[in-house]
Symmetry: C2
Subunit: 134 residues, 2 copies
DNA sequence: CTTATATGTTACTAATATAGTAGCATTTGT
DNA sequence: ACAAATGCTACTATATTAGTAACATATAAG
């Protein structure tokens, strides 16, 4: 069971690096030399981040990426939602109607409690904070 | 992102039903008529529960399953571990060495906090408690 | 003792999610 | 014109989860 998949993981680390180089554009080539992630994988991830307006990109030679908004305004929950979808730990309750009677499902309340906690924690952590702890 | 997969879900509901019929053996046929889960799927799930000593089985006509231990001694974490493996929300840290430097991984502490909470919650909830709330 | 009915066991297929790659188009500084 | 960067999309591969099938074995009932 994973909370963070590789897309999200890759995104966090790339964004942290970019946040630490505010004055320069950061290219996938640089990130590739920095982390042990293939260039293609980085490109895929960063491209998504750009379409989701987490990053801004500049094309052409000397191009690269920079943050589209302050590091304090990017939280883990944003990235998890982009790459892994909405946090629905209680997915089983609804998807394909596994449970006949959702209302009587005994697991439901418990799982929803856990879900609320996870989301609140992921919301609370921003890139800015992670950068400080780094 | 799911916390509970269908095996676990099926197990919880079956065990709850079995716990509510302490005096009788419960067969997959009965559970199948009770829940909207195929007989084959139930068999697979219950068989695992039997090998893991959560249930005891009796073969032959009029056979079926009963709890192998008190409902208060079966918690959600047991079932999650059986069907979904150990809770390692921070799996990404180690599996196939995604991170080059685990020690400097900024996500690690946050995810581990969340993981501890989830495990403690899953440990706290027993079948006995779920049965009461039912 | 035969039979119906239950689980034991294993192997298999199908569907879905995640991970990873490839290739061409477009932009831009030199 | 060219090199080097992203834009974009389609594709393959792998792992996980979901679901099915078939045969072996045990047991109570007639
Ligand atoms: S629907 Fe999954 S536990 Fe009820
Ligand atoms: S290894 Fe996954 S966040 Fe560092």
């Amino acid at each position: 069971m994973k909370l963070i998949n590789k897309d999200t993981d890759c995104a966090v680390r790339a964004i942290l690096y970019i946040a630490g180089n505010e004055n320069n554009l950061v290219s996938t080539a640089v990130l590739n030399s920095e982390f042990n992630i293939s260039r293609q994988f980085l490109r895929k991830t960063l491209h998504v981040l750009q379409t989701k307006k987490i990053l801004k990109s500049v094309k052409g030679i000397n191009g690269g990426f920079r943050l589209a908004r302050p590091a304090g305004k990017i939280s883990l929950i944003d990235l998890v939602r982009i790459f892994q979808g909405e946090v629905n730990l209680n997915k089983c309750f609804f998807k394909k109607k596994i449970c006949v009677n959702v209302k009587t499902c005994p697991l439901r309340r418990e799982v929803e409690n856990i879900e609320r906690y996870v989301v609140s924690r992921l919301k609370a952590v921003t890139i800015e904070q992670l950068a400080k702890k780094h």
